[in-house]
Amino acid sequence: MTSFMPRALNRTALILFPAFDWCISPTHPEREERLLYTRDQLIEEGLEDVDNIVFLNPELASHADIDRVHLCAPSSHKLLTESHLISAGATLRVARAVMDKEADNAFAIVRPPGHHAMQTVFGDRGFCIVNIEAIMIEYIRRHYGVKKIAIVDTDCHHGDGTQDIYYNDPDTLFISLHQDGRTLFPGTGFIRESGGPAANGYTINLPLPPNTGEDGFDMVMERVVMPILDEFKPELIINSAGQDNHYTDPITNMNFTAQGYARLNQRLNPDICVLEGGYSIEGALPYTNLGIILAMAGMDYSHVKEPDYDQARFRQPEEMTKYIAGVCDKALEVFENRGKSKEEALKKKVVSERKNIFYDTTGFNVDEVRQYHLCPDCPGFTEVTATSPRARIHAYTVPFNACPTCQRTARDLFGATQPIPQTITALQDRVADIYETK
């Protein structure tokens, strides 16, 4: 029988939830209008009728799903609105679609985004409150027992929140491609940020110069991302699919394109994509989102081009190519040396790190100290102390891959800790799936 609609080679599940009634503030880039034109384009294309593409509605994440990942002050109940629970819940729904084999891959086109949300949360940061990818990953680990997961963050901004959450986890490979932190928020993501003492070499940062275009991204994918993934052999690949590398994005300075994004996803072949940033809402998002969907579905994306697309316009100068090649070499070196620093760190038993986290939306600083309690048998648990002008968190966090000894030690330490006023004292045990505060 003649087919009157195209057929996707891969069964692809989509959640398209533009949240037309939610914004950070009416003129903020993260406003109601952001996914309007994307919705209009995807619906007009008839994607809902394409064989093997299925649209799903989001569901609401539970606060337990949030507390499994984050340490919220004053609490996840107080910080999150229904909109946040929906955008997080959408990632859980697509995860289930993939894990239950309803679909081969899935894309959650939702807002608000999440990759700037760190483990401790005191408010909105870089348009994000909670890290929707991390919430999804820990949900998958909890319900499906998946261990090794790779996150490739292709948003223009460094995925500092995701990096923070998985910094000391050798089972989560985090690769971020972004505009150099010296030129853009959040100002991090340098090659030297390469993972905590138990997971050094499992955080790979690829800071790219402003104006990087298709050639630069192709090079990074080919020389670094794909070879590292081949070596790491993740059970799942997640793409934090921000689209603000686009040449028309108003808040960044890159030269990436819809064709480029589609090709990148075709090569990466992620199991799940989660939309992150992207603020060229008319000139980029309708095309980049469509390009990514078609690439995931295994369909022809060659006609997905911005109205003013001209490949020749973005040919990259020789010098830039050389510079990016240098970044690639250094990043590969980081991965090659992975795990080597753990032995040295084990001698110290506890390694401390201190950092300052800036919350840009309302403008305050958090002083955070992380104490990595190292263990020869597992990545160890972490003691986190974070202080904002209004609240304080003191928590013991046990990763999903902790050994029983570390799990017990963390619980004992939590039990012995005296609660202090104005301080959230918490035990977050991902092995037992427990979140307790006092």
């Binding site: 009157f4 949240a19 037309f20 799903l56 078609l294 369909m299």
Partner: protein, 551 residues
């Protein structure tokens, strides 16, 4: 008085109603090749002696549906302009197609005008091929119809029939717009002939009242308008049956409607008493369309369906292989079970019992029969549950809509069709809901056709930053001021719908529902540059008010 006629595959039913009262009913055999003659003969038996008493004739026609099924369509040419997006080559599988190279974006902005040479080449090729009917569709023509109209103008009078996508529906979905336009163009000439034959017949009968055609959405349009939009007459059978159920068993809650026939069961749903519509339109001949239609599901399950028993389960349908065994057939059917249980008095009770023995040798026939009926009802119930699920999963785009979603919770079953009364108990047991079998249900479809009123749908897209409003259904593309707001948009759309309704002969002011209302600030560079307003409104499918009767 109103005459309602429902044409089926083998026969046509007609009724003459005075208000809600059934004055006369009649049935004739139908010859699909000579459809208009069958209809005229049926009309002849129904027209009241005093012709002036007849207000309207409502006709559900199988002409379009049959033309599609038999592939008996006019050769047409499609001019398609896709612009950036999915590779549009698949749209050419449909038939002779010429792609143009202009582009319109999601906001209705013109990116590039189509190359005139390509249009002219297409025209030459179509003339050469003897094509008389042309369909023109551009992507986003519901936002901006300029290109479709420009191309149509360029074709001018060289083609007798030109169909433009934006006039058929203001809904998004480009492939559906293409297929709907194709279907419409393919039916135009054939439908015009049919209309002429019916008009002549009516004149001969001395009838000069308006004649309306039943649509798939549970509404009607005047015959004259159906000539322009013949695709609207497709698949009106289920719509007659749903409206018939409504007419015979008025209902204001959520309910399940079943039309159980010999080989199929049609299922539809009422939400707060209103029949549920498809989000876009029905699928016709493997093509998704924008033809507004009631959400009905037809399953291959009926009184005469073949039944087999294996692995401790009944397999019912989807085929029919001859009559029930009680009536001399060779395979067991649900009808045999009804006969065994004394619920239906047709044919031989002994042969019916033998049918049950065939299925489960050694078991008491009555036990087998009642288990079979339970299985029959369960099959319907699964299908209903799946429909309710799929309605619940329709995409929503706002937080409030997601949080307020309500699952349809039927309070009642309304069942028509041959085995309806006999199956009442089984259905009630299975669904645990009261089951209503209206009287006169054998002419429910014709009554449905008679009692149905006009439906209209229109959409409005206003962009005050661009200073323009589009109402595609009437090819409206007008300038607006930057103060144009929701209240104005609503009243403009209301006026348009009232205008269309009154052009179609509706007297009195219709009730208009707003199905979608989106208002969005357009922000550029931290400043509000305007507003986008997107509205969809309708005259919902319902029964015409009856004079002198309290609603």
């Amino acid at each position: 008085m109103i005459i309602g006629i429902d044409v089926g595959g083998t026969h046509a039913d007609g009724v003459l109603l005075e208000g809600a009262r059934l004055v006369a009913k009649h049935k004739v055999a139908v010859d699909q090749e000579h459809l208009s003659e069958s209809i005229i003969s049926l009309l002849g038996a129904l027209v009241p002696n005093d012709r002036r008493q007849l207000e309207r004739v409502h006709l559900s026609s199988t002409l379009a549906t049959n033309a599609i099924v038999t592939g008996n369509l006019d050769p047409i040419g499609m001019l398609i302009q896709a612009g950036p997006g999915i590779n549009p080559d698949f749209l050419a599988n449909n038939g002779p197609t010429w792609f143009l190279d202009g582009a319109i974006d999601h906001r209705g902005h013109i990116i590039r005008d189509p190359d005139l040479r390509l249009i002219d080449e297409a025209v030459a090729a179509m003339l050469e091929a003897g094509i008389k009917s042309v369909g023109i569709v551009t992507k986003f023509s519901h936002r901006n119809s300029l290109h479709e109209r420009f191309i149509a103008d360029r074709l001018g009078a060289r083609f007798p029939h030109i169909c433009m996508g934006h006039q058929i529906s203001g809904l998004p979905n480009f492939p559906r717009r293409v297929y709907t336009t194709w279907l419409n163009a393919s039916l135009t000439a054939r439908f015009a002939q049919f209309e002429k034959a019916i008009e002549q017949g009516l004149t001969q009968l001395g009838v000069d009242c308006p004649c309306h055609i039943l649509k798939a959405d549970g509404g009607t349009i005047p015959f004259a308008r159906a000539i322009e939009f013949p695709c609207e007459s497709v698949h009106s059978g289920p719509s007659a049956s749903v409206m018939g159920c409504l007419a015979l068993a008025d209902q204001s809650e959520d309910a399940i409607l079943l039309d159980i026939g010999g080989t199929t069961t049609d299922i539809s749903l009422l939400v707060d008493g209103t029949p549920l519509l498809e989000p876009y339109g029905i699928n016709i001949a493997g093509r998704p369309t924008l033809i507004r239609a009631l959400n009905t599901v037809s399953i291959g399950l009926g009184g005469d369906s073949t039944v087999a028993f294996a692995d401790d389960a009944f397999r019912i349908g989807p085929r029919r292989s001859g009559p029930p065994m009680a009536q001399g057939g060779t395979t067991p059917t649900p009808t045999d079970a009804l006969v065994v249980l004394g619920l239906l008095a047709v044919g031989s009770a002994e042969k019916a019992a033998a049918a049950m023995q065939c299925l489960c040798p050694g078991e008491p026939p009555a036990d087998t029969a009642s288990r079979l009926l339970t299985a029959f009802a369960e099959r319907i119930s699964q299908e209903v549950a799946a429909m309710i699920d799929s309605v619940f999963s329709r995409p929503v785009y706002t937080v409030s809509a997601l949080l307020q979603r309500r699952r349809i919770t039927p309070e009642k079953l309304i069942v028509i069709g041959g085995p309806a009364a006999a199956l009442k108990q089984s259905l009630e047991n299975c669904f645990n809901l009261p089951c209503l079998v209206p009287t006169d249900y054998e002419v429910a479809n014709a009554i449905g056709a008679a009692r149905t009123q006009l439906t209209v749908q229109a959409t409005l897209y206003a962009d005050t930053a661009d200073g323009r409003v589009s109402i595609p259904e009437i090819s409206c593309l007008e300038d607006i001021s930057n103060r144009f707001g929701m209240a104005e948009a609503e009243s403009k759309l209301e006026q348009v719908i009232c205008g269309i309704a009154s052009d179609m002969g509706m007297t009195g002011r219709p009730t208009i529902d707003f199905l979608e209302r989106l208002e969005m600030n357009v922000i550029r560079g931290f400043e509000t540059s305007g507003k986008i307003l997107n509205l969809k409104a309708q005259i919902r499918p319902g029964l015409a008010d009856i004079q002198g009767e309290q609603p």
